[in-house]
């Protein structure tokens, strides 16, 4: 059973707003008293994923389920899909355009960072249909 369910839209046309959902979730988890390290892991993974949605997929939405012992996040978009997931997972591999690099992203660290900070990560992607990214961060509140 889900303790708390949250949904956020990620606007695809405004790079400056990418990170609003992650920031809101971070604030919420902080108010709920989750441990700071877990909060940071959720925030960073979700933030990278939000950035990816804006860069590659013209936005989408995130569903966040907060349980006492874990946080689950689904980031869903209707973008072009990822042709080669294995390649996209390699640190340094990027298909981001130059204008994104000028903004400080597109270093090919997005998916590797997401994997690093989550306990589980699953990608469902279909070319021309979109991508669902499922993330789980376990929380040790001791």
């Amino acid at each position: 059973m889900s303790a708390i369910h949250l949904r956020y839209e990620v606007p695809g046309d405004d790079f400056t707003r990418a990170g609003e959902a992650s920031g809101a979730v971070k604030k919420r988890l902080k108010a709920l008293g989750y441990n700071p390290e877990a909060i940071r892991r959720v925030a960073i993974a979700m933030y990278e994923a939000e950035i990816n949605m804006v860069i590659h997929a013209e936005g989408g939405y995130c569903d966040v389920d907060i349980y006492p012992d874990k946080v689950e996040v689904l980031l869903a978009d209707k973008g072009p899909g990822i042709p080669d997931v294995e390649k996209a997972m390699q640190a340094g591999f990027s298909t981001a355009p130059d204008n994104v690099r000028n903004l400080g992203f597109g270093a090919g660290m997005g998916l590797p960072n997401i994997k690093k900070y989550t306990d589980e990560m699953r990608i469902e992607t279909e070319i021309g249909v979109g991508t669902n990214l499922y993330l789980t961060v376990r929380v040790n509140n001791d």
Binding site: F15, T16, A18, G19, S22, G23, K26, P36, R40, A43, I44, Y47, E48, I51, L103, G104, F105, G106, A107, G108, M109, G110, P112, N113, K116, Y117
Partner: protein
């Protein structure tokens, strides 16, 4: 080291004032935000030549309480507002990235990374 010590060492100008007595233990200098996000350490300062709102968001996700803009770059009002709402101190210094990092390092601030 406190944020106010960093401001002194870098002869910085405060653009948005948070808690200047906040203790800083490590520093990170980068224009690539994904590289910053790859490195998690408590109580860090971010030095960057990049001036856009994602710098503040990156600092927010990383629990960083101070951002230093190098080469005298000025953030616009949207960046300042974002930092203010998150209680993040913004500082600008005329030093370039290499020099700014070197000055902090030689005054005892570590990179916080191990190889």
């Amino acid at each position: 080291m406190l944020i106010k010590d960093i401001i002194d060492i870098l002869q910085g100008e405060v653009i948005c004032e948070g808690d200047l007595n906040h203790e800083i233990k490590t520093a990170c200098g980068s224009d690539m935000m994904s590289d910053v996000l790859a490195f998690v350490k408590d109580q860090s300062v971010l030095l960057t030549g990049l001036v856009n709102p994602q710098v503040v968001r990156t600092a927010e996700m990383m629990d960083m309480s101070c951002i230093v803009f190098v080469r005298g770059k000025d953030p616009d009002q949207s960046i300042i507002d974002l930092a203010k709402s998150r209680d993040i101190t913004l500082v600008k210094t005329r030093f370039r990235m290499f020099t700014a990092c070197g000055l902090l390092y030689s005054n005892g601030l570590s990179g916080g990374c191990t190889l």
